[in-house]
């Protein structure tokens, strides 16, 4: 609005001083007028807001009317960082390694764990894992839109301790996260502490020995641990994020260093590989990235964070299925609540659900007649559609509102129906129709992973992404030189 010649002031809460400054620079207006509102905290009682507004009112008026100072009218240009190599010298190998690690951490180029030095020789070695050109641009990483190239990804992969044969997997994950439709800003910067799932499917998973069995999210596998860590380092270094500066994730995310990285257990799965549900061929090797909730399960079912247990091992498949359907239906307010911008509530945003199913449970689903993930997904979608006659007048109004703002393109992406789903809801919202509590069956995902003879069904939920259309993407692995798959 400022660049449309409309003068204003941007308010922010305590703790966001760096974030406000960085955001102003990101938009090319480093001298933008901002104002901290002391004491303003999200979620505090309404009666506390009035005195805060009164206390800061004079400063707001001042920001709107006080003429700009000369230094405000002529902001200094932002110096372009050449990102030159750095030379490390010390009296011994141990001292040099320590010096390198401290330097990188001091510059916010690391993740807090010890890093391996990305020497030109070692980066070159890493690049032997791909036939793609080092200067190929993969995409831009929010919030600062730093450019991720093959070489930059390789540098971060070295630092993470990855091996060259993992590089194509890491590149594919970054291709998913930097896809033009993927809302990476939200998991990169939101207070909500959202995290990323990285699932590898297809023959490359076995070739690389990515853990898909006991302890698939745990320690002890260089593949799982360093592939995820490399992606995290790429996100830090290409996005130029740092906690408390422009990454405001309050809890700091579970599985922060390695992300939720695993492979599908295709050997024991009765179903086609997951990526087939996303339109790829069974023989393809793919990486799926997906934004995950990260609240730790304390904020009600709708936003249980990280992964939560849906059913313990040994639960009959029929019971698991009914629990899943009941859970999704219990969150019907996510779709049916009235959208009122003035009382924005994240619980009123439709969800996506990712179920990680142990092989034995997948076989039990198969015995119930579900020959593929899609058939199970479509069954659940059908069972979580609510007959029009069972909707309350308020719920009907809520869906009508959602259709209205979707057609107008108003509000955040999270609150809107994608254009191709608007007619589906218009058609369903009439006598005899059935309205889904989910936007699309494709918001239900099943991946087979874990101990081959038992295990619990776990789930991640995440509401629709607020700044772009999607928070879930599957990409084909390509350019591999050291594995048979992914070439």
């Amino acid at each position: 609005m400022e660049n449309l010649d409309l003068p204003g002031v941007f308010l922010f809460s305590p703790g966001f001083e760096h974030d406000a400054k960085e955001a102003a620079k990101d938009y090319g207006m480093p001298t933008l007028r901002t104002l901290m509102i002391p004491g303003f905290v999200w979620g505090q009682p309404d009666e506390e807001k009035t005195p805060l507004a009164k206390a800061s009112f004079a400063k707001m008026i001042d920001a709107l009317t006080r003429p700009l100072a000369i230094e405000e009218t002529k902001p200094e240009p932002i110096e372009k960082d050449p990102f030159l190599p750095v030379e490390i010298t010390a009296e011994s190998y141990e001292a040099a390694l320590e010096k390198f690690n401290q330097l990188f951490l001091d510059n916010h180029w690391g993740d807090g764990l010890p890093l391996l030095p990305p020497t030109p020789e070692r980066v070159k070695w890493m690049l032997t894992g791909t036939c793609r050109a080092p200067n190929e641009v993969i995409g831009k990483v929010a919030p600062k839109n730093g450019i991720a190239t093959i070489e930059k990804i390789a540098i971060n992969a070295v630092m993470a301790g990855a091996k060259p044969e993992y590089l194509p997997v890491i590149i594919a994950a970054m291709e998913g996260l930097t896809d033009k439709d993927y809302d990476l800003l939200h998991p990169q910067a939101s207070m909500g502490s959202f995290n990323i799932l990285v699932a590898v499917t297809g023959p490359v998973a076995k070739e690389l020995n990515i853990n898909s069995g006991v302890g698939y999210l745990g320690h002890g596998w260089r593949t799982n641990n360093t592939i995820g860590r490399a992606v995290r380092l790429c996100l830090i270094n290409s996005g130029h994020t740092w906690p408390g500066i422009n990454d405001m994730a309050n809890t700091g995310r579970q599985q922060s260093h390695t992300l939720y990285t695993f492979a599908e257990n295709q050997d024991f799965s009765p179903w086609p590989p997951y990526h087939v549900t996303q339109g790829f061929k069974p023989e393809d090797s793919c990486v799926t990235v997906s934004t995950m909730g990260s609240y730790g399960g304390t904020w009600g079912q709708a936003f249980s964070g990280g992964l939560r247990i849906v059913a313990f091992m040994g639960t009959p498949a029929e019971k698991v299925l009914s629990t899943v359907i009941e859970n999704i239906l219990s969150m019907r307010e996510a779709m049916f609540a009235q959208y009122r911008p003035e009382v924005f509530d994240v619980k009123h945003i439709p969800l996506k659900h990712i179920f990680l199913v142990p092989p034995e449970m997948a076989r039990n689903f198969q015995r119930l007649g579900f020959a593929s993930q899609e058939s199970l997904r479509d069954y659940i979608y059908e069972k979580t559609c609510v007959p029009y006659e069972q909707l309350s007048p308020e719920e009907i109004q809520g869906i009508q509102e959602k259709i209205k703002i979707s057609i107008a393109g108003e509000g955040s992406y999270a609150n809107r129906l994608p254009p191709d789903r608007i007619p589906v809801f218009q058609e369903a919202l009439k006598p005899g129709g059935k309205v889904s509590v989910l936007i699309t069956p494709e918001d239900i995902h099943f991946m087979v992973v874990g101990y081959p003879v038992g295990g619990s069904v776990v789930e991640s939920t995440y509401h629709r992404a607020p700044y772009k259309w999607v928070g879930h993407k599957t990409k084909l692995i390509s350019g591999a030189t050291l594995t048979m798959a992914g070439r």
Partner: protein, 113 residues
Amino acid sequence: MEKRIAVVPPPSAMESTAAGSVTFKVLNPRGEIEHPPILAPAPRVAELAGKTVGLYCNGKRGTSVFFDTVEELLKEKFPTVTVLRYTGAFDPGDKLAAQIAKECDTFIDGVGD
């Protein structure tokens, strides 16, 4: 589990440059940024009397009460001011931003996430 790939170990990058001294070069891991053109903020309004003030928020809890108070204070202190309220996404987008710029003389923005 079976190991399937034999990989040549990375070459050594460490150099002993002098007795008791080690030097190595490391590449910069950061992604380059294409900075947008640098702009100055818009000139301020000289006074609020007779002006239209836009209040923009993304509707997170507490912002409505906060901006209700700001609206009351504006009307109380500057009786000739017109206040227009807008609610939208974190980033209002080109369409809404253009509308606000057309309808208002100045604005206060308070979005949260």
